[in-house]
């Protein structure tokens, strides 16, 4: 293992403990509560926890922010049915994301893309042991309630589906189930976190098999965080206003030198080397959408991507993973520059 990561600091080792970050979010909510008591604010944040817990408390922040931690170093795979979900599980996926159509097919089909069939999601949940995620349309509170009720482990409020609300995202604090959201830049990521997202992923450009946009978004977020570290409090304050998020959140991110939540890469990852590249750039793990089940060698490819994601810092293993697939069988892919502006998914919900 002799790969030096893209970033000069270890972005994966937090400089403060998980419990301190959780305290931070509870304290942030307390400020909001005080304002509320003066009639200035509505409840927007986590519910406070008692000092001592003598009975089990479900859906707390430790549990919502803790879930994605156990996805780190792993691969979440997009699937459309039970058979694909089982292939993913056998290959060593850490979770599956159930969709009605793979992002590539969403592009081809056009029309309105919605949440997957509830029966299919339930069927997948009863046939695999790994966590099951599903996507909802941006701002679609009810689709999210449906998924929470049937027991999906994590909800992706995703730009791959047609947005239900052009202006607002879901208030994710109201849910007991954790959410993951896409982001292209730091401001977007922090806005989603301040709305209650427990995990962030790059948007990339889904369904293209082209990793270029994911690379761009991951580098941008990393560089923006790096730049924050050298800014004085006044400038951080201005940044917070620009981003539309609490100053404390900007400050925490700067101090940590990374996002305060788990940060995955997504959007266009198609080969083991793509996955390893995103890990090298500092991603905590990867989502693979069309890349696996739109290829002609899904079984091998799924296993190879799992291998390369975990062992990204060992070039010999990445070679081994790359040998498990054939470039001739990769999904064809789409050149992003040839997409019309209205065909881009990443511009939805900023």
């Amino acid at each position: 293992m002799n790969m030096r990561p893209y970033s000069s600091t270890n972005v994966r080792l937090y400089s403060v403990g998980f419990d301190r970050i959780i305290d931070f979010f509870y304290r942030l909510a307390e400020v909001a509560d005080e304002l509320k008591s003066e009639g200035l604010w509505f409840h927007y944040g986590p519910e406070a926890l008692p000092e001592r817990l003598s009975v089990p408390h479900k859906g707390t922040l430790r549990v919502k922010y803790g879930f994605p931690i156990y996805q780190k170093g792993g691969v979440c795979m997009d699937v459309t049915n039970v058979e694909q979900a089982q292939i993913a599980e056998d290959a060593g996926a850490v979770s599956v994301m159930v969709l009605d159509k793979l992002p590539y097919d969403v592009r081809v089909a056009g029309g309105v893309a919605r949440m997957a069939d509830v029966k299919v999601i339930e069927e997948v949940m009863s046939n695999v042991t790994i966590p099951v995620m599903a996507k909802v349309r941006i701002g679609h509170y009810m689709e999210a309630k449906v998924l929470e009720t049937i027991g999906v482990d994590m909800i992706d409020e995703s730009e791959v589906l047609t947005p239900a609300d052009e202006k607002h995202h879901i208030n994710k604090w109201e849910f007991k189930v954790p959410f993951v959201n896409g982001a292209r830049e730091l401001g977007e990521a922090l806005r989603r976190i301040s709305e209650g997202a427990s995990m962030i992923r790059t948007k990339g450009e889904a369904g293209t098999g082209n990793v270029a946009e994911a690379v761009k978004h991951m580098k941008l977020i990393m560089n923006e965080i790096f730049a924050l570290r050298t800014l004085s409090p006044e400038v951080r304050m201005r940044k917070a206003r620009e981003y539309g998020v609490p100053y404390e959140l900007v400050d925490l991110t700067a101090r940590l030198g990374r996002l305060p939540v788990v940060n995955f890469a997504a959007g266009g990852i198609a080969t083991p080397a793509d996955a390893a590249l995103m890990m090298w750039l500092g991603a905590d793990g990867v989502f693979v959408g069309s890349g696996i089940f739109k290829s002609k060698d899904p079984r091998n490819r799924a296993e190879a991507i799992v291998l390369a994601t975990s062992m990204w810092d060992d070039p010999e293993t990445v070679v081994e993973a790359q040998k498990m697939i054939s470039e001739a069988k990769s999904m064809m892919g789409i050149d992003i520059r040839r997409l019309k502006p209205e065909e881009l998914l990443q511009v939805r919900g900023v």
Partner: protein, 203 residues
Amino acid sequence: MTLRIGVLAYQGGVYEHEYMLRRAFTELGVNGDVVLVKKPNQLREIDGVIIPGGESTTIGRLAERFGVLDLLRDLIKEGLPAFGTCAGAIMMAKKVRDSVVGEVQQPVLGVMDVEIVRNYYGRQRDSFEIDLSIPTLGEEPFRGVFIRAPAIVKLWNDAEPLAKLEGVTVLARQKNMLASTFHPELSGDTRLHKLFIEELVKK
């Protein structure tokens, strides 16, 4: 002499354990280091190992592929101190089944005389936190964070429960092995990591 503790680092809550171990070293005044283990030769240079939470199927398959699983099994049997949390506890159990799909075929270490049920409490919406009473650690309760947690439903030979919750074991010990179904690395409480270092590794 430096105490070297390995964390099996394929996937999951690896850095959370590293953070807690480093804090525990400082609090104990121990000269210690953390090794992120992915290759078999790294197992030869450590005094103890933590198997973190994550997906036990993923961790098991990768460990098997690199020959870490077999070697680690032998080393633990020979006395290497091991601490498994959540998926790590599943990896250590001799008997594993899943609460929904039943019997599961997955590569595990199978070193500890316990039976464990995966996803015992249900799905993520059933994940919870609670203050646990762990007599070995003293009066002060320990915050247990249970995320899609398993449960230890049976123990035999000299495997003993150190903490129970609603009729099942959540923390167990057998000689050089410690297993928790919850996540002590998320609690901010270093007492279990210190117990592992003091009573299992340093002995």
